[in-house]
Symmetry: C2
C-alpha cells in the first residue's frame, strides 16, 4: 500500500520504519526536504538527526508534504498537535479527499511549562478539528495513547495492552484496525465516532504523570473486563 | 477505625457497606437524615431507595454531614462532584482538620447532555479545589476511575487492574493505600501530589465512552509495563 507519514520526529520515523518493514511503500513528508536531510547533529535527547536517520533507511523516500501525500491511500499525521492543521493545509485538501488519515497527534500545549496541558479538550478534540477542516478525509484517531516504540511494536511489553480507534468511517477504521494488528496490537477497541477522540486525547495528562511515577514511557493502558 | 461516608448514592452505599464489612465503624452523612430515611421508592435505575437500603444495613449509622464526620479518622467524599464543596462546608473545616479525606468524586457536568463534560480540568482539578478550600484536610484522590462495585470489590474482575492515588500527605496516602489493599486492590500506583488528580479526573471522558463501547461498566484500566 502507498503510504505517507507526515512528520520527521521520533513518532514519524518509528511509524515509517515499521510500515516499510511490513512491505508498504513509504514516503515521509516534511516542509523542506533538503533542509531536513542536511541536518546531521543529534538532538538534545541524543536522537540522531533526520539526515542521519534517513541515510540509514534508504527504502523510505523523503518529500514535501504535498508530494508525499500524492496518491497515498493512507496518510499518517505524526506531526505535533499544534502544527497539524497547518501541515495538512500544506498537504492540501485535494490530496486528503477520500484518503484514510490516521491521526496520532496530541493537542499538547507546552506554553505553560511542564507537564503540558491540552489546547483543545472535553467539548472538542484535535481529531474533530482536523475532520471539520478536511471533511472529505476519512480521519481515524488511534495510537496517540502510547509512546512511539510501543505504537509500532506493542509486543515489546509481555502484555501489550489495549489500543483505541475513533472515526466516522467504518471502512477507514477497518483499514487502520488491520494495520494495528500487523503492528502487533491484539486488543483494539472501537470507541465510536470521531468525537470519542476527546476521551483518548484526554488520556494524555494521566499518561504524562504515569511516565513520571513509573520512570519509564514503556507502559500502556489495558482495559481489563 | 471510625469512618464517615458523605453521600447516599450508589458509591456512598457501596463504600460504606464495604468498610463496615471490614470491621470499621461507619456513619453515612447526608443533608437531612429523616428525609433520606423516609424515602422508600426505588429510583429510575431500579436501585432501592436509601431508606430501604439503610433498613437492610443496621450496622451503619445515618447522620447529618457534620455529625457523621465528628471524630472520624477517615472521611470519604462520595457526593457528586458539583455538590462536593458545598457538602464539605456543611461538614465544617473543624471536622476536616487533620482528617484523611478520600475524594472519590468526579467533576462531571451534565448540563450539556450526555456524555457529561468536566467542570474543572487540565489546569486544576476538583481534588485541588477541595484541598485549597480545606487546607488542613489531608486530601487523597483515589477510586474515581472505577465503577462503585469495582471500587469496593476489584476481585470481581479476573484481573483487577490498577488504581491510582494522588495527594500531598504521605501518611494519608499510606492509610488509603492500606484500605485499598483491604478492598482487594493489588496494583496501587502513587502518581504524586494532589495536582496529579488532574490526570485521573480526565480519565472520565474515555471511561464513559468505554462504557458505551463495551456495554458494561465492569471494566478497569490496568497499567501494563
Amino acid at each position: 500500500m502507498k503510504t505517507a507519514v507526515l512528520g520527521t520526529g521520533m513518532v514519524g520515523r518509528t511509524i515509517a520504519a515499521r510500515l516499510a518493514e511490513l512491505g508498504h511503500s513509504v514516503t515521509i513528508g516534511t516542509r523542506d526536504p533538503e533542509a531536513a536531510l542536511a541536518r546531521t547533529d543529534a538532538d538534545a535527547m541524543g536522537n540522531p538527526a533526520f539526515g542521519t536517520w534517513a541515510a540509514g533507511n534508504p527504502d523510505i523516500t523523503v518529500a514535501r508534504f504535498a508530494d508525499a501525500a500524492d496518491g497515498a491511500e493512507l496518510i499518517v499525521n505524526a506531526t505535533n498537535g499544534g502544527a497539524s492543521i497547518d501541515v495538512l493545509e500544506q498537504v492540501g485538501a485535494a490530496h486528503l479527499d477520500g484518503a484514510v488519515l490516521l491521526d496520532i497527534a496530541n493537542p499538547l500545549d507546552f506554553s505553560n511549562g511542564m507537564p503540558p496541558t491540552l489546547f483543545v479538550k472535553d467539548t472538542d478534540s484535535l481529531a474533530e478539528r482536523i475532520q471539520r477542516a478536511f471533511p472529505a478525509a476519512r480521519v481515524v484517531k488511534s495510537l496517540n495513547t502510547l509512546n512511539a516504540d510501543l505504537m509500532a511494536r506493542p509486543g515489546m511489553l509481555a502484555d501489550p495492552g489495549s489500543v483505541f480507534v475513533s472515526g466516522n468511517d467504518a471502512e477507514a477504521k477497518a483499514m487502520v484496525t488491520g494495520l494495528l494488528k500487523d503492528f502487533g496490537h491484539q486488543d483494539i477497541i472501537d470507541l465510536g465516532d470521531i468525537t470519542t477522540a476527546r476521551g483518548t486525547e484526554m488520556l494524555l495528562p494521566v499518561w504524562l504523570r504515569l511516565w513520571g511515577a513509573l520512570g519509564t514511557p514503556a507502559f500502556n493502558f489495558k482495559i481489563v473486563r
